[in-house]
Amino acid sequence: MSLAFQTPLDLQSRRSLDDDEALIVDLDGYEGPLDVLLVLARAQKVDLLKISVARLAEQYLDFLRQARRRRIVVAADYLVMAAWLVFLKSRLLLPAPSKVSDATATPEDAARALAFRLARLEAMRQAAEALEAGSVLHRDVFTRGDPTAIRITPSGRLEESLFDLMAAYVDQRRRQSERCYAPPAAVAYRLDEARARVRALLPALGRWSALSRIAPPGADGGPDRASCLASTLAASLELVREGQLEARQLTDFAEIYLRGRAAKHGRQAA
């Protein structure tokens, strides 16, 4: 490889790139860095397997520079490729190390691998075109058109695809999961909230007051009335035990009345 000649060649390539700017302005038109490299490599007009990777690297960096000049946001993988190419190019320019360790790939190997990948991608693109250029059914060639004619289906064997099988399975599992009844968990009126509320109301509880009036009414989206009543009662009973509150109920299922015990309440407030 005559590396000494690389620099003048690069200058030439830069000029030629400027000539057909339209080709390289639109980064959106490319499918990743390898695609860009392939387009640039084609411009070298040599067998892709024999391409000058050093020159290609320079062209690629040029391409990115132009993209940036046009303030096109360059995706990270383009930059990773750029870094790799710079690294590869510098390794290619360095004299080969005297002792060759066979364990690690040489820069020449890496360059060859890149050239191979470009050639392979190009081959696949051409293959796709060749397939399209062939006789495509219902575009270039046509089979019997009459749908009402007596027909024979080619075979009685089952024709199934794994994809269908998977889809059938997933469909059912989805339906099954939708079928599972999951009632929304009831929102409970928290005990500590109830306690805080009753404590705050203590000064106002000089007379017997009905529990149903002390408990909050319950609200949409919040705890319902039953939970409010239950939690308020539980909190009240705690306060009764602490001696801050009195409670009484005249008979079973009758309304429960609460009254603050002023003395202790005073001490608590102090």
Binding site: F142, T143, R144, G145, D146, P147, T148, A149, I150, R151, I152, T153, G156, R157, L158, E159, E160, S161, L162, F163, D164, L165, M166, A167, A168, Y169, V170, D171, Q172, R173, R174, R175, Q176, S177, R179
Partner: protein, 212 residues
């Protein structure tokens, strides 16, 4: 064979129905002699397996009448599994060995009893053993014919969860809780079928009430 004859032949072959001479002329290059082309084509096809016929002033290619027996006898519908069958088959494949009750659990409906029997008859599913659980229900598994049908080398080749996700079949809505046991993986204890059982596989409905 003249160029016009070729064109008429191709047009009649690909047409969805019979074409009149006027319709043919419209689609052929200007100045084509349609009548001569049709006459030549008719002569060419005389006595062949396919013939050129004129019905109500329209032309069409059709199979020779004397060969009709070949057509009618061999008329066949393409065989595809019904949706229910495919669904049941998928459950057996992904959960084998599996009992009827378990299949119903996944399918949600009391699975059409016939579906599993059809699969058994087609040789895609087989009875495998009896679960060591109350009622000792019969378990089912897929057969080698199943593997052949789907071109799988072995059950471990069955596409799994990751592939379902990759294929876009599993969205984010079915996430963490969606999972299944690996076919052939965790095996619930079960006994092999006794010989006589394999013959009369309808007997297993006796086991149903227990597992239901």
């Amino acid at each position: 064979m003249t160029a016009v004859e070729r064109m008429i032949e191709a047009l009649l072959f690909a047409a969805a129905g019979p074409l009149s001479a006027a319709e043919l002329a419209e689609r052929l290059p200007a100045g084509s002699d349609v009548a001569a082309g049709l006459a030549a084509l008719k002569a060419r096809y005389a006595g062949r397996g396919v013939e050129l016929a004129c019905v109500a002033d329209r032309w069409r290619l059709q199979t020779a009448e004397d060969l009709a027996y070949l057509m009618t006898v061999e008329r066949q519908e393409p065989r595809r599994l019904t949706r229910a069958a495919k669904e049941t088959l998928a459950i057996v494949a992904y959960h084998q060995p599996v009992t009827r009750a378990e299949i119903d659990l996944v399918r949600g409906v009391q699975a059409n009893r016939g579906t599993l029997d059809t699969l058994l008859e087609m040789g895609l599913v087989r009875m495998r053993g009896r679960r060591r659980s109350p009622g000792r229900p019969v378990t089912f598994a897929v057969t080698d014919a199943f593997l052949e049908l789907y071109g799988l080398a072995s059950m471990t080749d069955l596409p799994g969860l990751a592939e379902m996700k990759a294929a876009g079949l599993l969205g984010l809505d079915i996430g963490a809780e969606f999972s299944f046991d690996l076919p052939g993986g965790a095996e619930a204890a079960e006994d092999p079928l006794e010989e006589c059982e394999t013959v009369e596989f309808n007997v297993d409905f006796l086991a149903e009430p227990v597992t239901a």
